[in-house]
């Protein structure tokens, strides 16, 4: 069995989006936790990691064919107040036009007639319908589990938009607005600037995670409702607290959106409606 830690040294990079004073420490805690966590946290074969193993990942992990990280996300709806900071931060990070929301905050009705907010980024499905239907393989799985788009290949047929059960994909009808010079080419991990005539979506900010930074939505959620995690290390953090991912999900009855579709998303939700939680 192989336990892996992050390759990035703590504090190796600075985030231009980083405005929170505490997140430097948090980052060290998260990544450091991952380093120390070999024995304490990241035991493969237990909890969530065990469930991931059922999805063929363990075999891959053992043979060393899997990435060092397997990204996951947890969105705690008990904390989400629908402010939309995640959406705006994401749009800034990726230089999206206002009409494009890669993490869209939906206001939905619950069974009691009340409403709750549900931010929906790309669910990073392990069995992704969008990847299956792409005629040219422009949508594909990365080794770290992220489902990404190569906008240099996408022919813009929008079949993936039809296939996605979560409606998270957007089309670039126009060129993106005012992209600074330093962004030269779109890569699958960071599709900035986006290419007109191709499909775009949440890229899990893999480029940022590689540099030890958080996805924009995680970093800028002032409610600390969004966690980014690593299934291999079995840790997750919202930039403030670091939790043992599998325990956190089990203790809080986490669910996956449209589980019945068999898409096996890597985004977990904890049910709620923006109540004031103290934990």
């Amino acid at each position: 069995m192989r336990i892996s830690g992050p390759r990035i040294e703590p504090g190796a990079s600075t985030s231009s989006l980083n405005e929170k004073g505490s997140s430097g420490i948090t980052r060290r805690r998260f990544l450091g936790g991952a380093l120390l966590g070999a024995g304490a946290l990241g035991v493969l074969g237990e909890g969530l990691a065990g469930r991931v193993a059922a999805a063929e990942d363990l075999e891959l992990a053992e043979t060393g064919k899997i990435g060092d990280q397997q990204w996951a996300m947890v969105i705690d709806l008990r904390r989400c107040d629908g402010c939309g900071e995640c959406t705006t931060a994401c749009q800034k990070m990726h230089h999206l036009p206002e009409t494009q929301e890669w993490i869209k905050v939906h206001e939905l009705e619950d069974a009691t007639g009340g409403t709750y907010f549900m931010p929906i980024p790309c669910q990073m499905c392990e069995n992704a319908p969008c990847v299956r239907v792409c005629p040219v393989g422009a949508s594909f799985y990365q080794e770290d589990g992220a489902v990404v788009i190569d906008q240099n290949v996408c022919i813009g047929c929008r079949m993936c938009m039809a296939a996605c059960p979560y409606g998270v994909r957007t089309f670039n009808w126009e060129d993106p607005p005012n992209i600074p010079e330093r962004f030269r080419s779109s890569t699958p991990e960071f599709t900035v600037p986006q290419k007109k005539g191709t499909v775009g979506k949440c890229d899990n900010c893999v480029h940022a995670l590689r540099e030890g930074r958080f996805p924009a939505c995680v970093e800028f959620c002032s409610m600390e409702a969004i966690y980014v995690g690593d299934l291999v290390d079995d840790t997750a953090t919202n930039g403030h607290d670091t939790v043992v991912l599998s325990d956190f999900l089990r203790d809080n009855d986490a669910f996956r959106f449209k589980e019945e579709m068999g898409t096996a998303p890597r985004v977990y939700y904890i049910a709620g409606h923006g109540q004031d939680l103290d934990y």
Binding site: T99, Q100, H106, E107, L108, M118, I120, P129, R132, V133, C134, P135, V136, G137, A138, V153, C154, I155, G156, C157, R158, M159, M161, A162, A163, P165, Y166, G167, T170, F171, N172, W173, E174, D175, K195, K196, G197, T198, V199, M261
Partner: protein, 439 residues
């Protein structure tokens, strides 16, 4: 051999022989031909200009958006390829079953199939965001993708349709080697295209065997094309699309509208070139019967689709069905049911309206209504958001409409050009069938 000309037609004459009749559109007034071409070329040119504008500006010139991301182009794609079924499938099946009434309409049917398929096959390119990257489908094909199989199926089917169109041409072109009043490059084409046909026993047997093979091959091919086209919808989890009947549902729709197109083309040539004696009313009537049979089948499919979805309902299915049948799209949907299913069937059912005029009106209604039906399959499913918290909308832009009108006008334009060169009647086949009937 007498040359039947425009003057003769003005006197109300019908061509005097089968050979004259088969080349009537080819030898008629040059001026009328050019006028007709010019009149049809204007909307086609408009469509081309609109598409060039779209190429320079991108898909933002359409009415599409992130909710309704497929629209009129997808409708056109399914509709125009569907038109080709009347020619390919019907002509092949009639050949295989040796239906004696197919003779007068088989050439028109096969030509219509080729023309509509070529136009339909343009729409996958027109509708994508990056047409210049189409080659990616060849260099990195993904066999899981329904889009890839669309391309494979359409390509193979187009090839088969071309063969089904060209093989029966050989004996007919041989009949024209001697000219029949046509000289120049067309005469040279006839000599070349008849491949030394002399009508010997061996040649006849070879041709018939080849035609039988193509006819047999084209039936599953055609079924495959529309089934795979339907997979672009039914292989998603969207309400209103994810349905097991979509394959046959699309195939029946295609045959239904395809026969209607063949009827319209046959009636037009029959009327303009006074071919009543050669394209008899019986052939048109039998086509109409086939069309109505398909219409009834389609009505049944529509009924069973709506009933299974609506009875159970479901959180995602219900809003789509509600929008279609009772809300936003209800006028269009019920308009389709009346004008596309009920009226055409009734027009053909009653002896009083079962005239050439009545059948033509029925076919015209079917053609329009089936375009609308494809719209009603695509847009109402996309409009409500998957979470049920918003409702998108879609209005086709002038670019989309101009491209559509241009593509529609390209059908008669290509037919007029084609029949200026090749005989509109398969004289050889007609004679062979007449001999069969006599003996």
């Amino acid at each position: 051999m007498s040359v039947w000309s425009l003057d003769a037609r003005w006197r109300g004459d019908s061509p005097s022989s089968l050979d004259d009749a088969s080349v009537a559109p080819a030898v008629s007034s040059r001026r009328a031909f050019l006028l007709c071409v010019a009149a049809l070329a204007i909307p086609v040119a408009g469509g081309v200009v609109a598409y060039i504008y779209q190429l320079t500006q991108g898909l933002s010139v359409t009415g599409l958006n992130d909710e309704v991301f497929w629209g009129v182009y997808t409708v056109d794609l399914v509709t125009f390829i569907g038109f080709s079924y009347g020619g390919a499938l019907v002509s092949a099946i009639l050949r295989l079953t040796n239906a004696s009434w197919r003779g007068p309409i088989s050439r028109i049917a096969e030509a219509t199939a080729v023309v509509t398929l070529i136009i339909g096959a343009l729409f996958p390119i027109i509708h994508i965001g990056r047409p210049e990257r189409l080659w990616e489908m060849f260099v990195r094909p993904q066999i899981n993708s329904p889009q890839l199989w669309d391309m494979v199926a359409i390509g193979t089917y187009l090839l088969a349709t071309l063969v089904l169109f060209s093989l029966p041409l050989i004996p007919d072109l041989a009949r024209l080697r001697e000219g029949n009043g046509i000289g120049g490059w067309r005469a040279r084409l006839y000599r070349w295209g008849s491949f030394g046909w002399r009508g010997t026993e061996v040649q006849r047997r070879t041709l018939n065997r080849a035609l039988t093979i193509v006819a047999i091959a084209i039936v599953p091919l055609a079924i495959m094309v529309h089934t795979v086209l339907s997979y672009a919808f039914s292989l998603t989890s969207r309400p209103g699309w994810h349905s097991t009947i979509f394959g046959p549902y699309f195939v029946i729709a295609a045959v239904y509208s395809g026969i209607a197109i063949v009827i319209l083309a046959s009636v037009a040539y029959r009327r303009v070139y006074r071919l009543e004696k050669w394209i008899d009313e019986r052939s048109i009537r039998f086509l109409a019967y086939l069309m109505v049979a398909m219409g009834v089948a389609y009505a049944y499919f529509t009924f069973t689709e709506v009933t299974t979805a609506g009875y159970v309902g479901g959180r995602e299915e219900a809003p789509v069905l509600y929008g279609l049948m009772l809300d936003r799209y209800a006028p269009l949907f019920w308009g389709f049911v009346v004008m596309g299913l009920v009226v055409p069937v009734l027009l053909v059912a009653f002896r009083k309206t079962r005239t050439i005029a009545g059948i033509t009106i029925a076919a015209g209604l079917v053609v329009g209504a089936m375009w609308l039906k494809r719209f009603l399959i695509i847009v109402p499913t996309l409009a409500p958001s998957l979470l049920g918290d918003s409702y998108g909308s879609y209005t086709p832009s002038w670019v989309e409409l101009m491209v559509t009108v241009g593509a529609a006008a390209a059908i008669p334009l290509l037919l007029v050009l084609l029949f200026r060169v090749v005989p509109v009647l398969s004289a050889d086949e007609i004679e062979e069938l007449n001999d069969q009937v006599r003996s």
